[in-house]
């Protein structure tokens, strides 16, 4: 069964990890807040594991999930 991801972004080779010198790839990540977790797919550095959260995602989806959880 395909696992559920709440959000997916593919960096399409346009982002590069400066520490490792490699492009970020679409990778598995997880958001955690107040004891709740959500699997997502975000640009991740395949070497050091740096996970990128773009501005639109942070201020959009992430913020609204935060608000919803805060009021639980």
């Amino acid at each position: 069964m395909a696992e559920k991801n709440y959000y997916t972004i593919d960096p399409e080779g346009k982002l590069k990890c400066m520490k490792c010198g490699v492009p970020l790839i679409k990778g598995k990540a997880k958001f955690m807040y107040l004891d709740n977790g959500f699997p997502v797919e975000l640009p991740v550095c395949p070497v050091c594991g740096f996970v990128y959260v773009p501005e639109e995602l942070a201020l959009g989806k992430v913020a609204s999930v935060e608000r919803a959880l805060e009021d639980k």
């Binding site: 004891d35 959260v53 942070a58």
Partner: protein, 764 residues
């Protein structure tokens, strides 16, 4: 850097009851839902306010609909009613009562009659019989038909016209015709020309489930029957009937009787669940100050014309208690009166699992206390909201997010930016100047000038304490933090020799008053006593004085400020809602952190009172008014001839506090502060700065991110924008910075954002 622990989980299942009784007493105190005086006096409970509103708007169709709810034969009622409503009409106290009955008559005459789909409607199963005629019987027939019971009427009259004629001699020809038409349209079976005696009665009644009779028939058939007036019911005879004396009594009797019929038809005791019947006393409050038309429109014998009825209906002032909603932008925003709002907020605290939808509303109240002053019954929403916040904190249900920035700011004020020193040359001091955190953040030069002046002109030594009074912790409902702050301040004060506190801010004064054994005065009191320093002067133009919500109920502070303004030659313009009735600028209660929109509406509401420049005596007010583009001065700026200038952003507010502390330490106590200079060059685009202020991101946060990048080299490069991106988790949030390199040791920040969720790489 200071931190506050975020709550651990959304899965916390405890509830700490705040007193339900207290909430209920608050809810009961609000009279918003009380009926207007006219409706309260009407035994049939006509919604006279809505009726007159519709009539005044010329909407006779709607007005008639409302009237028909209580009157199946509107003209009969309107032309015969004794109008107890008019006796109680509020404007009757200062002029002529609204001629409600005459308007009802006109509406019944000119209003469009509803087409009833009576033939196609489903009737109820149980059948009802009614013996006799007259007003009571007529009204009762109308009520029963409305309830859709199949109804048969046995009467002595020979036809429908004579039936309607009985006891309705007061109707004129037109009215009679209209009501006859109405009667014909009703789904009622008639048997005319009956001779109603005991034998006839007993023979016929057997076929029906519920039996009713006119007062006359009852007397004839059962001369000794005892009727229960509240039910219009003779229990022994199982007969619904009732005596009456006038049109209104007949109508009200019929209403009660119809309810009894309803209960009997369902085999229920007619005594139970009847609700409140008949006239009531209303405790509604209505402001009469705007009532204009006090003289009634004269009525001719033919009654009002349509135009006259509209004119008369327009005299109704639509009695409502909205004192708090008129004055408080927060309540106006949520469009809820405190009686309802308090209940919802209380319920919000009682939710164990699920969404707390009232979190934002309860955190948006400025806790300013204006409602309590303007409410005729002293309803206290601040208390409701503060109790709710405390309750949510104590049960670990309160999100930290809306208040975290403010709370961290308080900790910052009492840590990095805190300063407590005796006046140079004094071991202990008689006084300590406590300007308040906002004053140091917004107008550091003014604080400095005031302190130097106090030192120079007061005997016994004036210590200085730069810090936060703890109001922020209080407002956030964090009683533990508030208590810690209190202890901390008390300790620091005792080191200074327990001096008398000279507060620079009315909210600090109020907050510090809760410290046991502390003596507090306002700087305004001191300045009145020792006189103004040289060089101060008022504004050129007339100005509006805004009273701080922290000084509500503090008449002596309010008048001291006015006296100072006078000494400065200020011309003050009168504004509505001043003194104790003053609205909050939007800073109070951390409203601005929890709900910017509401806070702005609160500010706008303050500014709406006058076009003049504003003089205030709380730095937060000064700041919020200036932010909206109004010429805004703190009274101390006028007194000391200083100018705090354009409102600082959140980072500048911190910087100002640190700089003030540093400068004073050096100038007065010759203490050096370690220079916290960055060893690289960091600049911001204007857009970044604006964005950071809006998103509550401090330059300190950005610096922390950049320090990390420089140390670890961890960042990414975005080909599309040609910019670098880095992040760092600080406290409960992750901060992101998008920047360009302008050289080896130089960076330009383009964008910044943050989120509270933690993000981790997942295996697999």
């Amino acid at each position: 850097m200071a931190q506050i622990q975020e709550r651990g989980s959304t899965h916390v299942y405890k509830v700490n009851k705040i007193s339900k009784e207290e909430m209920e007493s608050m809810v009961e105190r609000c009279v918003y839902e009380h009926p207007p005086f006219c409706s309260a006096a009407c035994p049939l409970k006509l919604d006279a306010r809505a009726f007159l509103e519709a009539a005044a708007a010329g909407n006779f169709k709607k007005a008639l609909q409302l009237y028909e709810k209580i009157a199946p034969f509107p003209l009969v009622l309107a032309m015969g009613c004794e109008a107890p409503c008019e006796q109680k009409c509020r404007i009757g106290e200062i002029g002529d009562a609204v001629q409600i009955r005459a308007v009802e008559e006109a509406v019944s005459r000119f209003g469009q009659v509803q087409k009833l789909g009576s033939i196609f409607r489903t009737r109820k199963k149980k059948s009802v019989v009614l013996f006799g005629s007259g007003l009571f019987a007529l009204f009762l027939a109308g009520e029963i038909e409305k309830k859709a019971y199949p109804l048969t009427v046995f009467c002595e009259e020979s036809d429908l016209e004579s039936f309607l004629h009985t006891e309705t001699g007061f109707l004129d020809e037109d009215a009679f015709r209209a009501e006859l038409k109405r009667l014909k349209g009703k789904d009622i079976q008639f048997a005319f020309g009956c001779t109603i005696d005991r034998a006839f009665f007993e023979e016929k009644r057997a076929a029906f489930d519920v039996v009713c009779a006119s007062p006359a028939v009852r007397k004839k058939v059962f001369p000794d029957a005892v009727s229960i007036p509240a039910l219009m019911y003779c229990e022994n005879e199982k007969l619904v009937s009732g005596p009456y004396a006038g049109v209104m009594d007949a109508a009200f009797g019929a209403k009660k009787a119809a309810l009894t019929v309803d209960r009997l038809a369902q085999n229920l005791d007619p005594r139970n669940t009847r609700g409140q019947e008949g006239p009531v006393e209303s405790a509604l409050y209505t402001d009469l100050s705007e009532a204009m038309a006090l003289t009634k429109t004269p009525v001719s014998s033919a009654g009002y014309t349509k135009e006259e009825a509209i004119e008369e209906a327009s005299r109704c002032i639509q009695c409502r208690c909205e004192e708090c909603l008129k004055s408080c932008a927060y309540l106006a925003h949520y469009k809820k009166h405190p009686g309802l709002f308090a209940k919802e907020i209380y319920n919000n605290t009682q939710i164990i699992m699920g969404d707390h939808q009232l979190n934002k509303p309860m955190n948006s109240c400025a806790l300013c206390g204006q409602c309590t002053v303007v409410c005729p019954n002293g309803v206290d929403m601040a208390r409701v909201c503060l109790d709710a916040r405390r309750n949510m904190v104590s049960t670990d249900k309160m999100p930290l997010a809306p208040h975290e920035f403010a709370l961290l700011d308080m900790l910052f004020s009492n840590d990095e930016a805190f300063l407590s020193r005796t006046q140079p040359g004094f071991e202990s001091c008689k006084y300590v100047f406590f300007p308040g955190c906002q004053a140091s953040a917004i107008a550091p030069e003014t604080v400095k000038a005031a302190y130097l002046d106090l030192c120079e002109r007061l005997d016994g030594g004036v210590a200085l304490m730069l810090g936060c009074c703890g109001a922020i912790g209080d407002w956030a409902g964090r009683t533990e933090l508030e208590a810690q702050t209190k202890e901390f301040l008390d300790r620091e004060l005792s080191k200074l020799g327990d001096p008398i506190v000279i507060a620079g801010c009315p909210t600090c004064k109020k907050e510090l008053q809760s410290h046991e054994g502390l003596r507090i005065i306002g700087i305004w009191d001191v300045l009145l006593k020792i006189g103004l320093p040289e060089g101060g002067h008022g504004l050129e133009r007339p100005a509006a004085l805004h009273d701080s919500c922290g000084a509500r109920g503090d008449k002596s502070t309010q008048s001291a400020i006015r006296e100072l303004a006078q000494k400065l030659d200020c011309t003050l313009v009168d504004t509505p809602y001043s003194g104790d009735r003053s609205p909050c600028c939007g800073y109070g209660g951390l409203s601005a952190y929890a709900n910017r929109e509401v806070a702005k509406e609160l500010t706008d509401k303050c500014l709406e009172r006058s076009d003049a420049p504003y003089i205030s005596y709380c730095m937060a007010c000064r700041d919020r008014f200036a932010r909206e583009g109004r010429e805004s001065k703190h009274i101390l700026e006028l007194i000391y001839g200083t100018d705090a200038g354009a409102p600082p952003d959140i980072s500048e507010k911190r910087y100002n506090r640190l700089t003030l502390k540093k400068e004073l330490r050096w100038e007065l106590w010759q203490e050096e502060t370690k220079e916290m200079k960055l060893d690289y060059d960091l600049r911001y685009t204007e857009e970044a700065r604006r964005m950071m202020d809006e998103r509550m991101i401090l330059t300190d946060d950005v610096i922390a991110v950049m320090d990390e990048v420089r140390k670890t080299g961890a960042c990414i490069f975005d080909e599309e924008s040609g910019l670098y991106i880095a992040c760092r988790r600080i406290g409960n949030a992750t901060f992101w910075v998008k920047f360009s390199r302008e050289g080896d040791e130089s960076y330009l920040v383009h964008r910044a954002w943050s989120h509270r969720m933690q993000v981790v790489k997942r295996e697999g």
